[in-house]
């Protein structure tokens, strides 16, 4: 039996990231205390740029869920949701967020002081079903103004003029609602600035991810938490400054040939959402000198924004972010993974068959088959859940991964 190895280096940027997370929630509480509106909204769309351009603090329940999983309050929230009659077969984000918003929010002494209650809600038609339904439950529960918006699910390769046009219509409706709510005029130049920050953040993001093509890879999937800024701080300088520092640190590592582990031998791809309550799982591969160097999830921000067309840009962002990683178009997802596997010189792929996310899990068998048949890249699948540790057996994970990694080692000609 091989010994477990310890990760040699985490990114220094993690210290700054912890502060950014603390500040994000502290800012939300401050906004609430000062009477500035706090809006709860679904993630991964162009509302965030609009909010920051209008001095409104956004709260993303879906982003709160991984924090609950990391700090361990998810189990309480699941219990609250179950008591309200929600089936334990539903998505863990949904159960956590409903349980938290309806009951958990009243608990005292919460980490980060919990979430400030919403002053208004924006509820979308679509996104994935659990996201859509989360907001419908919230709208029914909180007695606050609700704005109903629309976001059809279109395969990325099929997005055409009428989709963008419709997206812009929706953005304009939301602007009117926010103007009425805040009593402030919308300023297109401030939105342009926010869009420019997002564009820069996406550019930096791609460069940071591209640095992982280097052998040895400067960081692993264990650092995926840096995406916090892509979800919560798009449209701000905070994301840009942070990512610039990350890029500098990562490039320094690349120049010095400093990998996340000392003797990188195997490069892995990870499909589906991480297990937020068990991020150390990514370090498990280190005993075979293996590193997870690319993931499906991180490709959600591979896009560009046009500051000359800020409304169209945030409409486009709203349309693509979700389908990029889900099953709206399996062809597109396969195309992205095929490219990543080649670009990142992947030796094997790990598929997290995620009970909590049907849209990302559907099609995984096809992707695995494609990698094996077209690129001769083996894959392994394990059963898990991105929020609920009760649906994950680490012992079974280890058994599966051990056999797979030993096979990969043999393929690489490194037999221990």
């Amino acid at each position: 039996m091989m010994e477990e190895k310890k990760t040699t280096k985490r990114l220094k940027a993690n210290t700054a990231l912890r502060q950014i997370i603390t500040d994000f929630y502290a800012d939300a509480h401050r906004a609430k205390a000062e009477g500035r509106p706090v809006g709860w909204i679904p993630p991964m769309n162009g509302l965030i740029e609009l909010f920051y351009a209008m001095d409104i603090h956004p709260i993303f329940p879906e982003n709160w869920a991984p924090i609950c999983a990391a700090i361990g309050t998810n189990s309480n929230n699941f219990a609250y949701a179950q008591r309200r009659g929600y089936s334990s077969d539903l998505c863990g984000y949904f159960r956590n967020n409903i349980g938290y918003a309806l009951d958990g929010i009243a608990e005292e002494n919460q980490p980060l002081d919990g979430l400030p209650k919403p002053d208004f809600l924006i509820s979308f038609g679509a996104g994935c079903i659990p996201t859509m339904k989360t907001f419908q439950v919230l709208c029914d529960h909180f007695n606050v103004p609700v704005f109903r918006a629309d976001l059809p699910q279109v395969a990325m390769e099929n997005i055409g003029e009428h989709h963008i046009k419709y997206g812009v219509t929706q953005i304009k409706r939301i602007i009117k609602f926010l103007e009425d709510l805040t009593g402030k005029r919308f300023d297109i130049d401030r939105l342009r600035q926010a869009v420019a920050y997002t564009d820069e953040a996406c550019r930096l993001w791609d460069q940071i991810m591209d640095a992982r093509r280097t052998i040895p890879s400067p960081f692993s999937a264990a650092e995926i938490g840096i995406m916090f800024v892509m979800v919560t701080r798009h449209g701000t300088k905070i994301a840009v400054d942070f990512l610039r520092d990350v890029l500098e640190e990562v490039r320094g590592k690349v120049e010095r040939g400093e990998g996340v582990i000392l003797n990188e031998r195997i490069r892995l791809f990870w499909d589906n959402i991480p297990l937020w309550y068990n991020m150390k799982l990514f370090n498990y591969f280190e005993k075979w000198d293996a590193v997870v160097v690319a993931e499906t999830y991180t490709s959600a921000w591979t896009m560009r924004m046009d500051t000359d067309k800020p409304l169209e840009s945030i409409a486009y962002k709203s349309l693509v972010s979700y389908p990029l990683v889900s099953c709206v178009s399996l062809d597109k997802r396969i195309e992205l993974i095929r490219k990543a596997v080649v670009d990142y010189k992947i030796d094997g792929a790990i598929f997290h068959s995620n009970r909590s996310c049907k849209p990302i899990s559907m099609g995984q068998m096809d992707i695995m088959k494609m990698l094996s048949e077209e690129l001769n890249i083996p894959g392994v699948m394990f059963d898990g859940d991105h929020m609920d540790g009760g649906s994950f057996s680490e012992a079974q994970f280890r058994t599966r991964i051990d056999a797979f990694m030993e096979m990969l080692m043999e393929r690489k000609g490194n037999i221990y």
Partner: protein, 367 residues
């Protein structure tokens, strides 16, 4: 007389295959009741709702995880078994995530000659209508290139007319049953599937005959409790029969196929615009509704059909219905109408399910 659509239902795929051979017309599979079948029909295409239970569910295991809902896994297994090899293509309209995944996986593995995904909006504002017409026009362009035929608004008008007639007659069947006509719900369910599976030119004359006969026959009240069943895909006839034997008369439904499609008529005027309006404003399914719109239609149906009790028939892992259920239960509890939830793993009328239904009716009788 019972409404005997069961026989047509059993033979539906053979009938379609014969029709296809005889008339040399393409057949396109659909996965959802939001697909605008009127457009397919106007091109001379037979739309066929992909429906049924595979006896070899495990065949889907190679492509779908066990936490995907049983109906989706059943359909994939049927596809892999070759039951739908006669299809020339497949069309889907994005509703729930699982069916969209199925559409993608089906297309990749069974490689139909034609495939198309329609992305409908979720609102009914003017811009949504314009957007929907653009989506339909995209669909039409693809069909033109697939069939080599030009789209004809007149043909679409004719298709709309006969779909309207069929829907109106089917709605009448529900009301005649409510008025006391002794028909089992499994017959109505078969009628609903036939309407989505058979060429309308075959289905409609049968439907006309049945409605005429229903009207001629004597009516009498069944004396049973009027039940509404609610869920996604409800296709288990043994479950329907068991509910009716236990003392219920299923007079209304709130399901993928059934009353929701029948409430509205496609209006006259520009056919494409009228069609777009119909699909946007019809009573929504759980995957496309927000709570207020679903609540409104539900309450309307409860009153309209004098419902005594509601039975939710939910499939395991069905996100839209399981996440709506606590809200819907609250809505019904407020009316004082008794209700129960059955969570099914596929279509098996297990002993557990039977006991729960019997207990429910015992409780109802004691009231």
């Amino acid at each position: 007389m019972d409404i005997n659509f069961r026989d047509l239902y059993e033979r539906r795929l053979d009938i379609v295959k014969e029709h296809k051979e005889k008339d040399n017309c393409p057949v396109i599979g659909t996965l959802c009741s939001y697909v605008p079948v009127e457009i397919l029909h106007s091109f001379g295409i037979i739309p066929v709702r992909i429906w049924g239970q595979s006896e070899n569910l495990h065949k889907a295991d190679a492509l779908l995880q066990p936490f995907i809902c049983p109906p989706v896994r059943h359909l994939m297994a049927l596809g892999l078994e070759g039951h739908y090899n006669f299809l020339d293509g497949i069309v889907h309209c994005y509703t729930c995530d699982a069916t969209c995944g199925l559409f993608n996986i089906w297309t990749r593995n069974l490689k139909p000659g034609f495939s198309h995904l329609i992305s409908l909006p979720y609102m009914t504002i003017d811009e949504s209508l314009t957007y929907t017409m653009a989506e339909f026009n995209n669909f039409i362009e693809k069909l033109e290139s697939f069939t080599g035929k030009k789209f004809s608004p007149d043909n679409l008008k004719r298709s709309i007319t006969i779909h309207n007639e069929a829907r109106s007659l089917m709605k009448e069947v529900y009301y005649l049953k409510k008025a006391g006509f002794p028909a089992g719900y499994s017959g109505i369910s078969a009628m609903n599937i036939c309407s989505q599976t058979l060429p309308l030119e075959i289905f409609l004359p049968e439907l006309r005959k049945y409605v005429k006969k229903m009207k001629e026959d004597d009516r009498g009240s069944s004396g049973k409790l009027k039940i509404l069943i609610s869920g996604s895909v409800i296709s288990d006839t043994s479950l329907m029969a068991f509910i009716e034997e236990a003392g219920g008369d299923i007079v209304a439904d709130d399901a993928c196929i059934g009353l929701r499609m029948l409430r509205d008529e496609i209006s006259e005027g520009d056919p494409l615009q009228s069609l777009a309006r119909y699909y946007l404003t019809r009573p929504p399914c759980a995957s496309r509704s927000d709570f207020p719109s679903r609540k409104a239609h539900f309450l309307e149906t409860l009153t309209d059909f004098d419902i005594d009790a509601v039975i939710f028939i939910h499939q395991k892992f069905c996100d839209p219905h399981l996440s709506d259920h606590p809200f819907m239960k609250k809505v019904i509890d407020e009316t004082g109408i008794p209700n129960m939830q059955l969570e099914m793993e596929g279509d098996e009328l297990t002993g557990r399910v039977q006991t729960r239904i019997e207990s429910f009716f015992e409780m109802l009788e004691r009231r």
